[in-house]
């Protein structure tokens, strides 16, 4: 039996004006287990807390009920007070007689009656409380960043600058990501490479940063503070240590038919290649699917021309196993597949291109060396049409329901750049809405209209019809003039919706990080914890969490880094003691709990149990206290009632129910 002390707070007149606090204390003494009850002006004051300590000592209390304000307000205060008095802090329960009683009721008798019932429920619960102890777990002082785009690079730099080791795992042969493919950036028209390359170099040179390019995360186990990650380093067939990056191999490679990923397939590259000139590391990889040596066994020219002897056809994939305390996901995005948008003739005409393709066309290192020209015949276009919201804001299954956020701004940028460089080219933008929230964004868009004479028409394009003469007939509506427009264009640019990198699903599963219906990773709280995943120790950086532009990405990357550093800075993690646990005699090992656990905290083990004399090996659920956040989903899913939640046990809640219904 517990020895419970009940302390009723007046909260000045906040409670005492509507609740007969003395009566509540008097009634408390009638409850089973209650050996002490008193009321006091301000329980949260020094003196009030001292009263608790005093009673704990004098009456040998094992449990405390404070009838006061919301536990969200002072639960921590009273728990600490109890702890100082030598009581386990989790032996304290709060009866909320202010927010849930005195403040919402006017009739004293009624409010007092209710306060008594709330007190009873709390007493009933404390009668079943057991001391709980926070767990501790170690923190490996090293972070992993998945993805080497601007988000990943920035996060890694910030973590490394704070003094912690960081590894970047990048799937492609070079870090740099999408940003490296961009020509200019809005709203200042900086050259993308000019601002990105220094960061790439800095990351590569940073002593705390290790970069694994052409590598993928293969397996993740463990939990916050102690993840174990297998990284597959794909065979490059080029020795990183020997290669000097001279580029001769690429020049001499006879196979030059592979579409260049970096240029969005608009031109070709050699089978041995670095994606772009500023690639980091500046070490090529051999694309085995296109390499003559790998396909036929003959050739081997690259090995012959390599003076460093870096070519190694025998190289195999390598698996590294590393431990990390925190993981940041920065997997970025891709544009959606336009297969389902026949009406825009993307697959029918090479002159219908996506905006990202236009970036490459405009770029000096791109397929047209920076000249704006039609990809079909190389002619300079006279009429350019931009179509907005292609695949964004769709409620059907062809596109995405969300706004891709960056298109309005980059289209303004494109239009402006084209009008600036080629003043004789007419640019028309068909839009549904122009969305420009952001510092200097609307000014930028207005500049495109006012200064550069870009023609913005409100109305979506219905169809793009390739004409026999190579022109593109654009059928659209002008909603403001209530006209249907037929416009001949030389090039059409589609502001294609962006979607999370398709690999993110696989990664989210490995991390047990939750993902939304659009494959964006879910943040722990939409407003208050936007860079943390609900899974402890996993942080989100960049577009993997939702569409964003470069400044936002960099800001979020920094925020994710700070959160990760905050975790790495700790020597030990205190874990929430209100976690689930399975009664091994009741557990069926049926896996139902595992299926509802959002944190992957439940695993199974074959364990010998002694069930009242029957010894057998059973499959039994095991909750990892470091991962469990105490939501209780498993406790209800469990058919046998084996799973229970400390601090909110079945019997405790039932005791509260009983006390209220009494």
């Amino acid at each position: 039996m517990q020895r419970i002390g009940v302390f009723v707070c007046h909260c000045g007149s906040n409670i005492a004006a509507t609740v007969d606090v003395a009566k509540v204390a008097e009634m408390a003494l009638m409850e089973p287990g209650v050996v002490h009850a008193e009321d006091y002006q301000y329980m949260c004051s020094e003196a009030g807390q001292a009263k608790i300590a005093e009673a704990v000592h004098e009456k040998n209390l094992t449990g405390v009920v404070v009838c006061s304000c919301s536990p969200r307000m002072h639960e921590a205060t009273f728990r600490k007070a109890a702890e100082r008095a030598g009581l386990n802090p989790y032996m304290v329960e709060i009866a909320n007689i202010r927010e849930h009683c005195s403040w919402i009721h006017k009739d004293m008798e009624e409010a007092t009656k209710k306060a008594v019932i709330l007190m009873r429920a709390a007493v009933a619960k404390v009668n079943l409380n057991t001391p709980l102890k926070e767990g501790e777990s170690r923190v490996t002082k090293r972070a992993l960043v998945i993805g080497g785009g601007i988000a990943g690079i920035q996060t890694a730099l910030d973590i490394a600058d704070a003094g912690y080791e960081v590894d970047i795992v990048e799937k492609t042969p070079s870090i740099g990501g999408r940003m490296s493919q961009l020509d200019k950036t809005f709203p200042t028209l900086d050259c993308s490479a000019c601002i990105l390359t220094p960061k790439m170099v800095e990351a590569a040179a940073h002593e705390k940063i290790t970069i694994y390019t052409y590598s993928e995360v293969e397996k993740v186990s463990g939990f916050v503070g102690e993840f174990t990650v297998d990284i597959r380093k794909k065979a490059r067939h080029v020795d990183m240590d020997k290669c000097t990056g001279c580029g001769v191999c690429q020049e001499k490679c006879p196979s030059k038919k592979a579409p260049s990923e970096f240029n969005r397939g608009l031109n070709k590259r050699s089978a041995i290649y670095t994606p772009f000139a500023q690639a980091i590391p500046n070490v090529p990889v051999i694309d085995c699917d296109n390499c003559i040596k790998f396909k036929t066994g003959k050739c081997g020219i690259c090995a012959k021309v390599c003076q460093a002897g870096a070519i190694d056809y025998e190289q195999q994939d390598e698996i590294l196993t590393e431990k990390y305390g925190a993981i940041v996901v920065a997997t970025g995005f891709d544009t959606i597949n336009l297969e389902k948008y026949d009406e825009y003739a993307y697959s029918q005409s090479p002159d219908v291109i996506t905006s990202l393709e236009l970036e490459r066309v405009m770029n000096a290192a791109g397929p047209t060396h920076g000249h704006l020209e039609r990809l079909s015949d190389g002619k300079a276009p006279k009429e350019m049409v931009f179509i907005q919201c292609v695949g964004s804001r769709c409620s059907d299954d062809r596109g995405k329901s969300y706004c891709s956020k960056i298109c309005c701004m980059y289209t303004a940028k494109h239009a402006m750049l084209i009008r600036d460089k080629y003043p004789d080219v007419n640019v028309t933008v068909f839009y549904i809405d122009v969305r420009t929230p952001g510092k200097n964004f609307d000014e930028f868009y207005r500049r495109a209209v006012e200064q550069y004479g870009v023609n913005y028409i409100k109305g979506q394009v219905g169809k793009v019809i390739p004409q026999p003469d190579g022109k593109l007939l654009v059928q659209a509506s002008d909603l403001l003039d209530n006209q249907q427009i037929l416009k001949e264009a030389d090039m059409v640019v589609l502001a294609t919706a962006i979607e999370p990198n398709p690999d993110v699903r696989k990664i989210a599963t490995m991390l047990t990080a939750s993902i939304d219906t659009n494959n964006f990773l879910t943040e722990a709280h939409a407003k208050l914890r936007p860079v943390e995943s609900p899974t402890a120790g996993i942080f989100l950086s960049g577009v993997c969490q939702g569409p964003k532009d470069i400044p936002e990405t960099v800001a979020q990357a920094g925020a994710a880094a700070v959160k990760a550093v905050g975790l790495l800075a700790k020597d030990k993690l205190m874990t929430n003691p209100c976690t689930a646990h399975a009664d091994e005699l009741l557990c069926n090992g049926c896996s139902t709990c595992e299926n509802v656990c959002p944190y992957g905290a439940i695993t199974y083990e074959e364990k010998e149990v002694n069930d009242h004399g029957i010894r057998e090996v059973r499959r039994i659920a095991n909750v990892n206290n470091a991962l469990c956040q105490g939501c209780g989903a498993c406790t209800v899913a469990c058919p046998s009632g084996a799973m229970d939640l400390k601090g909110f046990s079945n019997r405790q809640i039932i005791a509260e129910v009983d006390a209220i219904c009494r």
């Binding site: 003494l29 009638m30 009242h612 004399g613 029957i614 009983d658 219904c661 009494r662």
Partner: protein, 343 residues
């Protein structure tokens, strides 16, 4: 010997129920069980066996013992009242009447179970002969005569008339209260009916079951027999056999928190349940085999050992009909007849 026309039975029941409670077989939602008579109750005297035996009338499945009321920190104990009004159970079969004898020996011997004793004192039993016994019946094995129940009143339903014969003082008293509805009759038809029942009884497959070797002395021989290990296997550990049985007498005592106090009640228990006779240290019988064995050993060995050789099975056959796994006491007895002791 009296008789009453079948169409007047409703009047008879009404008259009995005027002064006391009357329990009789009533059909509810397709099943016949003993229940209190009311004007709109569907009385069913044609169905041979009620699902549950009528032992409820004397030993209810659940009955309150006392209530503890809380007043502040003080407790007040309020015992449940004993049965103090007379009641009638109409339509019990001979086997069920014999079942009462089995219960009597348990509950009326020292220490007397006052709840049961009060019910026995106030209850009058009218036994109805089994007009058409069935293949699951084996009452004869236990010396029960399906044609005439050893109750306070014996009754027979013959064609359109109910024959009524008081056998005890209580029976006479009851007869007095309904005399105006009864008319005198001779025994001729009843004798014929009895013979007819006996003839059918002879033809029923279980009636000549031999209980040789089952007695109070057979304890260790039967207890250690390896056949139990096989016999129990299909058993689902449900309580059907025990809850339909007219002689099973085990009960558990439980508390229920009503919020204002605690009511202590007793309810039937089943030796098939894993928490049967569970004690603080654990359980005496840890396996289903042991619990399964307990039931039959109790009926055919332990009980006879303590009760002058009387078995605590009356051959009603309810367990035969209702076991979900088609197990029953007859199969057990037969299993032991085959090839002596070894397996």
């Amino acid at each position: 010997m009296f008789k009453i026309a079948k169409e007047n039975l409703a009047a008879l029941f009404r008259m009995i129920a005027k002064n006391q409670e009357l329990y009789l077989p009533v059909r509810t939602a397709g099943q016949v069980n003993f229940a209190a008579w009311s004007e709109d109750a569907k009385v069913d005297l044609d169905t041979l066996k009620s699902v549950k035996s009528p032992k409820d009338a004397f030993f209810p499945q659940s009955e309150g013992l006392y209530t503890v009321k809380k007043e502040g920190k003080k407790m007040k104990v309020e015992p449940e009242n004993l049965k103090d009004q007379p009641f009638v159970v109409f339509g019990m079969k001979a086997c069920d009447v014999k079942g009462l004898e089995v219960l009597d020996r348990v509950f009326l011997s020292d220490p007397v179970d006052t709840f049961y004793a009060a019910r026995r004192d106030h209850g009058t039993v009218v036994a109805l002969a089994c007009h058409e016994p069935e293949e699951t019946c084996f009452c004869k094995v236990f010396g029960v005569d399906a044609a005439e129940g050893a109750a306070d009143v014996a009754a027979w339903m013959i064609e359109d008339e109910l024959y009524w014969k008081p056998l005890t003082e209580k029976g006479d008293l009851l007869t007095e209260t309904v005399k105006e509805l009864l008319s005198e009759a001779d025994e001729g038809k009843v004798e014929e009916e009895k013979e007819a029942i006996h003839r059918i009884t002879e033809r029923l497959p279980y009636m000549n079951l031999s209980l040789e070797g089952w007695n109070g002395d057979a304890l260790s021989e039967k207890f250690d027999d390896p056949r139990w290990e096989e016999l129990y296997k299909p058993c689902l550990a449900c309580g059907t056999c025990t809850f339909v049985c007219p002689t099973c007498q085990c009960y558990d005592i439980k508390d229920y928190d009503t919020g204002r106090g605690v009511s202590r009640y007793r309810c039937w228990d089943s030796c098939m349940y894993s928490d049967f006779t569970m004690m603080a240290h654990g359980n005496n019988r840890t396996s289903q085999m042991q619990r399964f064995r307990q039931r039959f050993m109790h009926k055919l060995v332990y009980y006879p050992a303590n009760n002058d050789g009387m078995y605590s099975c009356v051959g009603c056959g309810r367990c035969v009909e209702k076991c979900p796994a088609a197990l029953n006491i007859v199969k057990v007895v037969k299993a032991f007849q085959n090839q002596g002791g070894e397996n």
